[in-house]
Amino acid sequence: MSRGPSIRAFITGLGVVTPAGVGLDAQVRALLESSVEHRPLEPLWLFEPGVGGPRPAGQVPRELPLPGPADWPRTHRLALAAAEQAMAGAELPPDAVVLGVTTGGMPLSEELLLAGVKDPQRYRLHGSGTVAERVARAVGCRGPALTVSTACSSAGVALKVALELIRAGRCQRVLAGGADALCRLTYFGFSLLKLVDPRGTRPLDRERAGMSVSEGAAMLLLHAAETPHPGVIAELLGGGLSCDAHHPTAPHPEGLGAFLAMQAALSDAGLGPRRIDYVNLHGTGTRDNDAAEALAVRDLFDDRLPPVSSTKGVFGHPLAAAGAVEAVVCLAALTRDLLPANVGLTEPDPELGLTPLREPRRAELHAVMSNSFGFGGNNAALVLGAVRNTAGQAVHLSGPGGRLKAPPGPTACLRVVGSACLTGAGHTRETWERFAGGQRCAGLLPDADVVRELPPRVCRRQKRLPRLVLALGQALCPDAEAGPRRIFFGTGFGPLSETHDFLHELFSDPQRLASPIDFVGSVHNAPAGQLAMRLGARGANLTASVGDSSFEAALLMAELLALDVEERETPRARELLVLGADEHHPVLSPLFDPCGGEPADGGGALWLRPEADCAPGQAGPSVRLRACRLAPERPEDVAAGLAALVAELGGPAALGERYGALLVDLPAGHRQGGERWRAFVQAAAFPGPVVDVRPLLGEFASASAVAAVLAARLVAGGELPAGLGAGRGPVALGGRGVLLVGLGAHLTAVDFSP
């Protein structure tokens, strides 16, 4: 890697809730005592199983009291249970929360949809991003509260993002992990894909026939320090991400993506393969995953395979939480000298060429690896290390609210080398022309116009959101081979058409039969996975779901990972595609998105190149996220929150000096009758034009992605066109930049400088 991380991420707290119970001891007991006959998997009881009868599934015991209000979705309550536990010994709140979540409020939304409830207020916790937001507010974190939604690798990716927040010096303490509650969407979805073993999962077994879907939440509290101090549990040494860019669900047959992620994780941790004492496999128990993963593991470790096991035979597969639950398993291994057994195994599949641990064993472990792979070909691998004999060592933890003085390594400037957007007005040119004239672009571009440049075969099986994303990719990179290798996608609500159609069909069919294609397409990261396949992009592939700030969250993750590329890689491997998109769905959008209003959707994409410095006058503007914090929840505190945002940006005078115009993305759901707008205008005291973008672009969670594309174009053009100047005529930016301010649940600021 191109930087030597001097700031390390030590784990100082952990929280976990699984079908085996709450806390580390319960998990260790399950790891030691489970067998194929007696394990925490039970026939489904959380909801009606359908005509096939209940399959074995992992369910958090019903007698376990979960914290949080009774009207919260199960996911949020599981997450809160893990968060409270992880924070129990901590004196200070975390600076950020990063969670892997896929279905978010779906367990509750399904009940409400089945009951025909139409009140949007009841669905307010539907969005995947609300889990991290609720957790952050509950533990006193001012944000950011970030959510990664890359299907079954979500929590692994979230932990990698958290690690980079620490290393970049942006945060002292990060609470990170994942949460997913079992719901109908996933239970029936995986059944319809024939990926559920009716006998309960048997990872790596010759007769394995699929997974057991499960649920749970797990979180680690990461602490920035240069050296360990007494009381730390272990260290997060590194993480690696990759994308198969091969198929929406099936892994690359040679395990290429898995190999790349593990290789990157080792390199990131600065360890050779011989230093790994144990690998906790993704090991879902499906024929394809276990075969591809075994190939990758054998390739990586060659003739010296460390002990390996999948612990999904104990806990099942808790989907987005898997990477965090299994990170906790790794902590159990490191701190209790325990090699966990591959429960569920009767006869190892000889074709895999692995020798999984048949029984738990005692061994002193120094460094272990954990794998998490997901739909969309999104892969993550983590390396965790033991911290021993820390007594008496120097403590280098910073004080309350402190920030590390200097960034530990080189920071990258992200240069905009291309941009594209889509709105109701049309593609980039049409949108720009209307926007520059101060005219509304809001609406729904007809499907035929969205896909006009795409070959029909590319759009097959794709509904509205993936089409928007593929169209943005096509506009930006018509030559797929020359496109960026890393993709950072933000979406507030994900593929709503696929989600709706799957649930609608599922609920209307007495046999619970519904389209597997819709299920596969319903995961938030499916569009970015499709784009990766189209571009052959095998680098990191992240999907962020943070409500109205999903695009900003994707940009933050891109900044954090900008330099996370092997030095031997080509300059093009460093380039990034950062985009945001949301679709309008006539049934679900009015329920899930509190903004309401006239139907509108679209998205925007930036092609970014990391450069050593951002000297002005180079080709194209640069982009940087300058602020991302949670807005105060109580209306009476919002003005103070906005003043704090302006202060974080250097105060009103600095804003006037640096920026020729402000673009403000204020979602309708947060307007409070104009209160928030007035409070911001007052706090910013900005002398130049302040453009209210939502009335122009429409109400959808990724409107700020479109605004970002327009901001980059404004800066490149050096002036604010007459149509946007509120009657002042064209306003010259005078060599200054444009600041895109987001005023939703997160208060954000994205800098575009010439």
């Binding site: 046999q511 389209s515 597997p516």
Partner: protein, 90 residues
């Protein structure tokens, strides 16, 4: 049987959103997956659900699926056989 084959071709094109394929142009014996229509494992599963919903045919394991869905002809044969044996109207 010809009628069932023609109907299946239409249903396949519809179910799998093969807009650029004329149903009548699909040869009875051409392979449906891989080289032929370029379909993949998710398409197989989509057809499995369609067959269960529209024809009451259950295909529960991969081997059977692979055998039955070799071509339109093999699919039609399997449906005709199993409809007969179950006494369902054909």
């Amino acid at each position: 049987m010809d009628e069932l084959r023609a109907e299946l071709k239409r249903r396949i094109v519809e179910t799998l959103d093969l807009r650029d394929v004329d149903p009548d142009s699909i040869p009875d014996d051409a392979p449906l997956f891989g080289e032929g229509l370029g379909l993949d494992s998710i398409d197989v599963l989509e057809l499995v659900v369609m067959l269960e919903k529209d024809y009451g045919i259950r295909i529960d394991n991969k081997e059977l699926g692979r055998r039955v869905m070799t071509s339109v002809a093999s699919l039609a044969d399997y449906i005709a056989e199993n409809r007969r044996s179950s006494g369902a109207p054909g």
